[in-house]
Amino acid sequence: MSTQQAEPESQEAPEDPAMKGAESPAADEQTGGGMVDDHAEKRAELEGETVHIKVFRYDPEVEGKQEPRFDDFHVPFEKGMTVLDAVMYARDEYDSSLTFRHSCRQAVCGSDAFFVNGKQRLGCKTQISDLEQPVRIEPLPHQEVVKDLVVDMDHFYDQMHTVEPYFQDEDTPATEDLEEQRQTPENREKIKMSSRCIWCGACMSSCNIAAGDNEYLGPAAINKAYKFAMDDREDEQIKEHRLRILEQEHGVWRCQTQFSCTEVCPKDIPLTEHIQELKREAVKKNLKFW
């Protein structure tokens, strides 16, 4: 096919040469010339560059992958290429067992938060040309790795569910005679940023406290609660109920304002600010009863 595509080599597993041979998808790559999308090839020639990525590999079932290692891939560069594009290319052209979640390719589904060059980022929202090479791509820290870049998200979902993330008004009348509720534009503006969360888990993964205390609700869940607590459409009693969930032992107080969550959030949600505001709300609420 072409010279710029050095074959991907399995790097950090020298003890087991057999495995290396088995894993190296070089053979497929050579014969699989037909797979290359014409555009990609043309542009790669135009730009004549490849991007070097190192991808974390692990699979509990496959010999040689049980001990995690990094695989190197050299992917032809295209203008506008994102980290997700690069791993997709590596998967489709070099090694079809390379596994990661992805779907929308436009930063709305929240599936592809990876640990890229030491920071939690959405693969699809990160231009590879902005990164230093080799680009190191790992699964999100602080979550168990299921396979390659796929981590177990169950705990994250559990935490999200803990804050009762739903409107609680019980009185939803029959559809026919529903009256639209009013909400001021200011109030809607207040909850706007918090409502953008796409459940990618980057924030939770970046938070040291969440890493140490598994029960800590974590920035995403607290932010979710913020969205409801600040929405004027829910009444005061429910807000208090929400604050009580938040101020328990493993709630807002756990946050040590490390700001990592805010820094990595791909949706630019001011998480720390929201958490701090809820702390103040909780204190205010309690002061009232003194």
Partner: protein, 612 residues
């Protein structure tokens, strides 16, 4: 084996709404989805939800606009149901907490949208779909509805009577992506398919990687016809490298399209002398491709959308998110350079044929959302009409599946005495046939005539064998190669421009893909989170779906809505006021037509020239 009353396949907007409705109707519901619900592609919708909420607007106007937009291929009972129910469903969402944008007086905001005679598009910033999806998922959590997420549904467990109208669907077979276990899900009352669009049949699409038309293909192979598949909407401004959508708002604000020669081609080449860049989606998409085809495209691929002249202030004020999109997904700064854009597949108007209650001709099998075709969108969907479809028809499907009486449907489904067979068109290949022995038609999908459990067990067994076969095979072709070929064929020949020769060529290429697929294998030996396996199965579905799109495009020799044929550039109302239906008849698809219903509740919609 798992057992529930109602099984909802897919957890996008339509699936979630159906599950909530079925739950409220008292059924024990479970959702089975290959993605966690919040990852569904409904989250990508930006524009809004059409609903006649305001004084001065009413559902009849909405119905009229929709019918006109559909180029008179929408069925009036469906269109009217949509328009009538959309307001209350939208308000219902509001009660569930959806953060709609607001006016000063606290009411929800509505904005004008293409093809609407009244500003009735209700929105939540530029992320309406995201909020709709999350709000409904929240309600699912509230109700404690069981969600099997990251379970990939492979097959429907359907009996195999000769006539699909006599068949019964008893459940689905799915595999747990994380562990690779294959299990049956028995549905005592009904299965609702809500698997979304088939955009991945094209290589350039605004749809997600997960939009592989699985529901279409499963229903199709179970005997439910696919309707109007040839109607595919292409959006004129998507980013070339990813297909990410650049909203119409840019052109609305005054953005200009240029070709590689720096000409404002919409005017200079006379595509739309009045409205220029703001002509309707299909017109602009065709203009762009003509420019590229005639050698005036940038890098032979795209054109430029320039908004620099609007000034930084205005751009930051109204189009800020566009700057982010161009920067994040294309590496282009919209303030200093024009943005590359090209047409991308965006929406499938057609889908699994259902009636107003969401039911297909197979008993107990329902479909809702983009995978279904009721048909509200006919030949062309208006922006902002898909989301209301999800909530209105998702709800109806859910309730009906849970046993509620919604009255008799006016729309008929399946092969019957009101259809007309296709006889004229000469097909270049035998559809559905791989040219090799693949005995077994429906039975290939595991159906038998037996009790529900028997049907399910047989289907599970077949699915296990199929997966074992794919996994055990040592070498052959990989799905990525077939998929790329298929997507390329569709994009080259069944795209915005369609010629008879081209579509025939596509059908032959699809046939080749089908043959190559006989030799497909899964390289990844692991059962754990094997996306290689999942994509291999999806590719098979894409082949089936792509074929129906191409077949529809070939038989419909007219120009209606989004479907344009080089040799037939006019709308032929005498001949073509009818739906194209394709059904998988023992592996040899048959094509037939059902007349469109233009008689509404109070009036009959007379086909008029579609001009704006």
């Amino acid at each position: 084996m798992y057992e529930h009353d109602v099984i909802v396949v897919g957890a996008g907007g339509a699936g979630l709404r159906a599950a909530i409705a079925a739950h409220e109707a008292g059924a024990d519901v479970a959702m089975v989805s290959k993605l966690h619900p919040v990852r569904s592609h409904t989250g990508a919708a930006e524009g809004g939800i059409n609903a006649a909420l305001q004084e001065g607007d009413d559902w009849e106007l909405h119905a009229y606009d929709t019918m006109k937009g559909s180029d008179y291929l929408g069925d009036a009972p469906a269109v009217e149901t949509l328009a009538k129910n959309s307001p209350e469903e939208t308000i219902n969402l509001e009660h569930w907490g959806m953060p709609f944008s607001r006016e000063e007086d606290g009411t929800v905001s509505q904005r004008p949208f293409g093809g609407l005679s009244y500003p009735r598009t209700t929105y939540a910033g530029a992320e309406t779909g995201h909020h709709l999806l999350h709000t409904m998922y929240e309600q699912v959590v509230k109700r404690g509805i069981q969600v099997y997420d990251e379970w990939y549904v492979m097959n429907l467990a359907t009996t195999d009577e000769a006539d699909p109208n006599d068949r019964e669907c008893h459940g689905v077979v799915a595999y747990d992506v994380q562990s690779g276990n294959i299990e049956g899900f028995k549905a005592n009352q009904g299965v609702v398919l809500a698997t979304g669009g088939p955009g991945q049949a094209f290589d350039h699409t605004t749809n997600a990687v997960s939009c592989t038309g699985d529901g279409h293909a499963m229903a199709y192979r179970a005997g439910a016809p696919l309707e109007d598949m040839e109607f595919i909407q292409f959006h004129p401004t998507s980013l070339p490298s990813t297909g990410v959508l650049i909203s119409e708002g840019v052109r609305g604000e005054g953005g200009i399209l240029y070709n590689s020669e720096g000409e404002r081609f919409m005017f200079e080449h006379g595509y739309a002398n009045n409205s220029g860049e703001l002509a309707s989606r299909d017109v602009v998409a065709r203009a762009e491709l003509t420019e590229v085809d005639e050698g005036r495209g940038v890098e032979d691929e795209y054109v430029h959308l320039d908004m620099r002249h609007l000034g930084e202030e205005r751009i930051m004020d109204r189009l800020e998110n566009i700057l982010h999109l161009a920067e994040d997904f294309e590496g282009v700064d919209g303030l200093v350079e024009p943005m590359p854009v090209k047409p991308g597949q965006h929406y499938a108007m057609g889908g699994i044929e259902v009636d107003e209650n969401g039911q297909t001709c197979v008993n107990g099998l329902y479909a809702a959302g983009e995978c279904a075709c009721v048909s509200v969108h006919g030949g062309n969907r208006l922006g902002g009409n898909a989301l209301p479809e999800l909530i209105v028809f998702g709800k109806r499907a859910g309730r009906h599946a849970a046993g509620e009486d919604l009255g008799d449907p006016e729309i008929r489904t399946g092969y019957g005495d009101d259809v007309e067979d296709e006889t004229e068109t000469d097909l270049p290949v035998t559809p559905g046939d791989a040219g090799v022995d693949t005995s077994g038609g429906v039975a290939a999908d595991g159906g038998v005539t037996a009790d529900a459990e028997g049907v399910l067990e047989r289907t599970v067994e077949t699915a296990r064998q199929r997966v074992d076969r794919l996994m055990d095979k040592e070498d052959g072709v990989q799905h990525a190669e077939i998929r790329a070929k298929l997507q390329k064929a569709m994009t080259d020949y069944v795209n915005v421009f369609r010629t008879e020769e081209g579509v025939k060529k596509a059908l032959r290429l699809i046939r080749e893909c089908r043959q190559e697929y006989q030799d497909v294998y899964v390289d990844d030996p692991s059962r754990t989170f094997n996306t290689d396996l999942q994509q291999t199965i999806e590719t098979r579905n894409l082949i089936d779906v792509a074929e129906t799109i191409a077949l529809g495009a070939l038989v419909r020799d007219e120009f209606r809505g989004a479907h344009w044929r080089k040799e037939h550039q006019e709308r032929k109302d005498e001949e073509w006021l009818k739906h194209t239906l394709i059904s998988w008849d023992d592996g040899e698809p048959s094509i037939f037509y059902r007349p469109v219903i233009l008689e509404g509740e109070n009036k009959t919609y007379e086909p008029k020239e579609r001009s704006y």
